[in-house]
């Protein structure tokens, strides 16, 4: 990042994406009343009707919530980036990628057709790859980008497989039709494979354990990208998929337990790892993992409380997390560091940033009256509603929430309060274009907290309805729900969180000590890649030796196996009886050709070989004459003559054949013999069956009446199949031009 702001950052590349995102946001806002009234919007264009693939898009509660988050946060992030990257050489490229990502993400959440959804899913993977690797001169960025691409790419393949299985099971790729058939997937024998594949896709995309390691590495991307893709939107695509498939796949024990365990492990592990980090951005990255884990955990259930909690927390998290990422970008920009120990007392120089950070952090820590508080209360209510293991689940939520409380303090309070730290640059407040995002997002968190009914009826209820596929399940969003167990748990969270915050320095030292002594999956990733490369190298050296002879041998061997193998496998060998019907004059001709062939194969002399070839060629020309093909014979004679002349001319400048030949090559001879025998066998069978002369009959009948030619072969060539002949002439011409170019450009022999 260069900090040299150009005088005006108001460039087209910076502002066009803002305009696009804002327009989309306003358009989606207009759909809110319709959706809140309980209706859905659907638009279909035919794409590949033969395969049942339509460009069908649907707006229901779930997709509208996502679409508003994507376009709304998108607009703010893009305004932020316009300033953040002003004057960067590749600003235009960045804008293009970020806009493409936004559109792909919107397509993903709006698609009603699973195959369309898959296409957009892959598009988000690719744009994410390009954005993580935006700083392509840094090796770390390239590695992280590739890692994210490969991990999420595997998930993409799994998703495609799952979609095909779903399509064959349910007979439709339309999600809305799928939801109308409740038990079609859960009751199917393919349920388990489908579930495993869908979960693989969702867990890789949303970085659940054990596929979590790519997400912290993805922080190599510029801060706006981290704020947008890797906290608020793209990593939630997996969550979206789980929510979308919830009506069709949930309700079984496998679903419940897999999601609960994966979510709980991820959320606890990630919140512990977040405390360990000293880089503010990495700490936030781990809190994103924690949030994704919590969402997965909640989506494992089908109770109204759990789903309402998931939806509310999804909105809360997107608001405060994007705000905090953007804040850290401003801090990084203004001070030149993101190390938590070097930052302190920034509030004096950066009051607005500090205020936005504080509000977002309070929401993240779950204080009233912020939306985060309501989200947390609902999470507890949802966790307690897990019928089988409420203690375990609520415990995981409690521990991660307390750690979240501590991390909120570390990330968003410590850098701004207390006495001044020693950043590399004197801190200065960010420009308004960068402040707007965090201020608006943090402010919305407070506003929705005080007036939860604004989003409850408009977004949360329709989304819960869409996820559970039945209305009336959504629970109310309340700041004050009376004194109940969730409230007590909240108080416990604050106490435990404050305790953890006070102890975070020794805690961090201990965690660093532990993590340095345990193998990480990230390190294992390098080993895995090295292993794959080694297998590739071994396989390449086996097949692609760089020696032409081997390539040819493998090619011919493949042809032999394909032909002979098919004959044997299909039990198609049906040789006719051999009939000795050879006239002596024909027999002589054959003897001649065989001798010419033998001479060519055996001889060590160039001239003898060329003579042998000539004998074979002329012998074949005689065959053409005998069997009524005078035109072919003439051409054959002409070409054979030319070949001999060309060879003779070239041979003068080419070396002799090596003395002693290349020795007796047993396997080459066997392969040659095998191919020869197979060819003969096939031809014997072909000639034993009658020839279909229907086409020839047409040419014979049409030759004179339609084309006025008495030589049928000629008429075919120049009239009925004139375009072929034209192509043939073109081939010869191209060969001639190529040969001319090769000869013309001949240098003297290059000696090394």
């Amino acid at each position: 990042m260069t900090s040299s702001f150009s005088r005006s950052w108001l460039s087209l590349a910076g502002l066009l994406p803002v305009a696009i995102a804002t327009t989309l946001f306003i358009l989606f806002l207009q759909a809110v009343p319709v959706i809140a009234a309980g209706r859905t919007l659907r638009q279909v264009w035919q794409w590949v009707p033969g395969l049942g693939v339509d460009l069908s898009f649907v707006i229901d509660g779930l997709s509208l919530t996502f679409a508003l988050l994507i376009s709304g946060i998108g607009a703010l992030v893009m305004l932020y980036s316009a300033r953040y990257l002003a004057g960067h050489v590749h600003q235009a490229r960045f804008s293009l990628l970020l806009t493409s990502f936004m559109l792909a993400m919107l397509g993903l959440v709006l698609s009603d057709n699973l195959l369309t959804l898959f296409v957009f899913w892959e598009l988000t993977t690719i744009t994410s790859y390009l954005l993580i690797g935006f700083d392509h001169s840094a090796k770390k960025a390239r590695r992280s980008a590739l890692q994210a691409l490969l991990v999420t790419g595997v998930g993409g393949l799994a998703l495609l497989a799952a979609i095909i299985l779903i399509g064959t099971t349910a007979g439709t790729f339309e999600l809305s039709e799928l939801r109308a058939m409740p038990a079609i997937l859960t009751g199917s024998t393919l349920y388990l494979p489908i579930l495993v594949l869908v979960l693989l896709a969702a867990f890789t995309k949303s970085a659940q354990m054990p596929f979590h390691f790519w997400l912290p590495n993805a922080m190599a991307a510029p801060t706006p990208v981290s704020a947008y893709l890797h906290s608020a939107t793209m990593v939630k695509a997996g969550i979206y998929l789980l929510a979308r498939m919830h009506p069709s796949l949930s309700g079984t024990d496998v679903w419940l337990w897999t999601l609960t365990i994966a979510g709980a492990v991820t959320t606890v592990f990630a919140s512990i790892m977040a405390v360990r980090q000293t880089d503010l951005k990495l700490a936030l990255a781990y809190t994103t993992l924690m949030a994704l884990g919590a969402l997965t955990l909640l989506l494992g259930n089908s109770t109204g409380y759990a789903i309402t909690a998931a939806v509310t927390f999804l909105i809360v998290h997107s608001l405060y997390k994007a705000a905090l990422f953007l804040v850290i970008g401003i801090v990084d920009h203004g001070t030149g560091t993101r190390e938590v120990d070097r930052l302190s007392g920034l509030v004096r120089a950066m009051p607005v940033t500090a205020a936005a950070a504080a509000v977002a952090a309070l929401s993240m820590a779950g204080f009233p009256p912020f939306l985060g508080f309501i989200g947390k209360e609902l999470k507890y209510a949802g966790a307690l509603a897990v019928a089988s293991e409420p203690v375990l689940v609520a415990g995981a939520v409690l521990l991660s929430s307390a750690l979240m409380f501590a991390v909120a303090g570390i990330v968003a309070l410590r850098p701004f309060w207390g006495k001044a730290g020693d950043p590399p640059k004197p801190p200065k407040e960010g420009p308004w274009a960068m402040l707007l995002g965090p201020v608006v997002l943090a402010g919305l968190g407070a506003f929705f907290g005080i007036m939860p009914s604004v989003i409850a009826t408009t977004l949360v209820n329709p989304t819960v309805t869409a996820i559970l596929a039945e209305p009336g399940e959504a629970k109310p969003l309340l700041l004050w729900a009376g004194i109940n167990l969730p409230l007590l748990l909240s108080i416990a969270t604050f106490v435990l969180g404050a305790f953890l915050y006070a102890l975070h320095r020794p805690l961090r030292r201990g965690l660093i000590w532990i993590t340095q002594r345990t193998p990480s999956l990230d390190g294992g990733w390098d080993g895995f890649l090295a292993g794959v490369m080694a297998v590739c190298r071994w396989q390449t050296q086996l097949l692609q030796t760089g020696i032409l002879r081997r390539y040819l041998f493998l090619t011919f061997a493949t042809a032999f196996v394909a032909m002979a193998g098919t004959l044997v496998a299909k039990d198609a060998i049906d040789l006719p009886n051999l009939v000795p019907d050879v006239l002596p004059k024909h027999g002589m001709l054959f003897v001649l050709i065989f001798l010419g062939l033998a001479l060519t194969v055996i001889t060590q002399s160039r001239i003898a070989a060329i003579a042998g070839l000539g004998v074979v060629g002329i012998g074949i020309a005689m065959l053409f004459i005998l069997f009524s093909a005078p035109d072919v014979a003439i051409t054959q004679l002409l070409v054979e003559t030319l070949i001999v002349v060309l060879f003779a001319a070239a041979a003068l400048r080419l070396p002799h054949l090596p003395r002693g030949g290349s020795g007796w090559r047993f396997w080459d001879a066997m392969l040659a013999l095998g191919l020869g025998v197979t060819t003969t066998a096939i031809l014997l069978m072909v000639t034993a069956s009658p020839v279909d002369r229907e086409l020839t009959g047409f040419f014979e009948g049409a030759s004179w009446p339609e084309a006025f030619g008495r030589n049928i072969v000629n008429v075919i060539l120049v009239d009925f199949r004139a375009l072929d002949t034209f192509g043939e002439i073109a081939v010869v011409l191209v060969a001639a031009i190529g040969a001319y170019a090769l000869l013309k450009g001949t240098p003297e022999r290059q000696k090394k």
């Binding site: 060519t600 040659a672 031809l683 000639t687 014979e700 199949r721 190529g738």
Partner: protein, 119 residues
């Protein structure tokens, strides 16, 4: 007759494959010529053999009288011969040019595109 020709084509294929695998560009070219001959004969044979009756229409007639040789494979073979020749000529020049640049016709020694990797 067809059976003998089938054997001949098999022999041509065997000879050409053996030559092409020899690891010497001149022999490879010999093999190439034999292989295109074998392919042409295959097409020709598959259309059926008719001695002494070329596919011509006599003066005043609307079509050929009696059974004449199959015209279609002949037309195809004609095209194939010419294209085979184009291929051969180009391959010959390529070999010639390779010899000028690399100083050898031994294909095992031609490793410019895929040099031997240090193990």
């Amino acid at each position: 007759m067809e059976q003998l020709l089938s054997v001949l084509i098999g022999a041509l294929v065997a000879g050409s494959v053996f030559l092409m695998l020899a690891g010497h560009l001149l022999r490879f070219l010999f093999g190439l010529i034999l292989l295109s001959n074998a392919a042409n004969l295959t097409i020709f044979l598959a259309g059926g053999l008719t001695p002494g009756a070329p596919p011509l229409i006599s003066e005043g007639a609307e079509g050929p009288t009696g059974t004449v040789a199959n015209a279609l494979p002949q037309a195809l073979v004609l095209t194939a011969i010419v294209i085979g020749f184009g291929l051969f000529a180009f391959a010959l020049i390529l070999a010639f040019r390779a010899y000028q640049t690399l100083g050898t016709l031994d294909t095992d020694a031609m490793r410019v595109a895929e040099p031997e990797e240090a193990q």
